[in-house]
Subunit: 245 residues, 2 copies
Amino acid sequence: MGTNAPLYAQVEQSLVARLGVSLHPGDRLPTEDELIDEFGVSRITVRRAVQNLVARNLVVTRRGQGSFVAVPSFTQSLTALTGFVEDMDAHGLPSRARVLRVEEIAAPPDVRAALDLPLGARVTRIQRVRLAVGHPVSFDDTYLPTDLGRLVAQDDLENEQIFTLLESRHGTPLTEASYAMRASTADAVLADALEVAEGSAIFRIERTSYTSGLRPVDYEVLHYRGDAITFTTRLPRARTPGQEQ
Amino acid sequence: MGTNAPLYAQVEQSLVARLGVSLHPGDRLPTEDELIDEFGVSRITVRRAVQNLVARNLVVTRRGQGSFVAVPSFTQSLTALTGFVEDMDAHGLPSRARVLRVEEIAAPPDVRAALDLPLGARVTRIQRVRLAVGHPVSFDDTYLPTDLGRLVAQDDLENEQIFTLLESRHGTPLTEASYAMRASTADAVLADALEVAEGSAIFRIERTSYTSGLRPVDYEVLHYRGDAITFTTRLPRARTPGQEQ
């Protein structure tokens, strides 16, 4: 953000940059007086910056107690295939990945079915925790056919997006994806990775992404923290047989 | 089903009619020999009937142990606004409702927001458990503006669908709906109604249905058993700024 941005926007941006770095969910924000001193701006500017953070669901204000960093929570419209970083960018939130594991394994039956692979096929599995403003919100297992997986495995998966890598570096444009969505609960592994209690709600998505010719090239099992995500959609009324029109 | 239907289909239909009545999830189906005796048909006919029930996810076969009534589990495509009974009909499954409560209350804030009602407005709340093959799969809170709610409250809600009542009896065609979907867990009330353990996974949907002129007329909070439902959709790839085409 250039220094031509309004003062409140500069303060806002400066605070967002600290989220997940020196300010974590539940932490108290500096007081208005502290922010006035630090940035050398007016109270009205500080208030506007904080109000914007509240409107972005990044900060919650508790009456008489001050402002606190919120647990990230997003509403995501089911309108197009997008990756996690793209989604967070759209929300104006810094995001990154923690790579837990990159390995080649015999494809389990659900992976074989999704990627249309023969018995005995091997796949590259990439296990990551996705963070928004420094806070874990999703635990992802990504399965790629080894021809693509071996290429992607050599990329910088902490800082680059698999969709971007497939499309821009490895000649594999994505055209569409199928989603299967379920409610589930966190086992010990998920609870540990997502920093929630065992048994917490998990929004589980199996997503198969396709390239040209409807060839499946990327199968993911995404486990979102239940308290972090709401998916929205809008559907037309089905015309039922009994209805006129 | 007429008596012109193939024998296996008659046996199949006869068994489906017992589901949720004399045969409940987990119950063992009669053996092949028992079914042969009862229906006076061949083994091949009995097998075909049972195989069809397995294909419909109504029955599971355990090697060496026989066939058992399955816990109902559905895959529901997010393509059009449909009611529970319509969905179950599409799966060929008998469904019904158990009405827990019909009352008029002051509209809570989320209900007012969804139905676009002023402060102090009252609404009709209808609380139902939805059963598929006799098994509870969803706990629904339906909120209607009182002009419609008072009419619907006098209808037979155990046997009639609210969508059908609104559209066919009360002159309120539905045109579309907005959905907000979250993963959650069962509290004591939900656990009791859905016959699951407290803390079990719940797929929670807030759905607002609209009539002509985009006027909201029906706000529901649906709580599906997490083990009963998978929602599917298919999305095209978003065109990102960096992409050619």
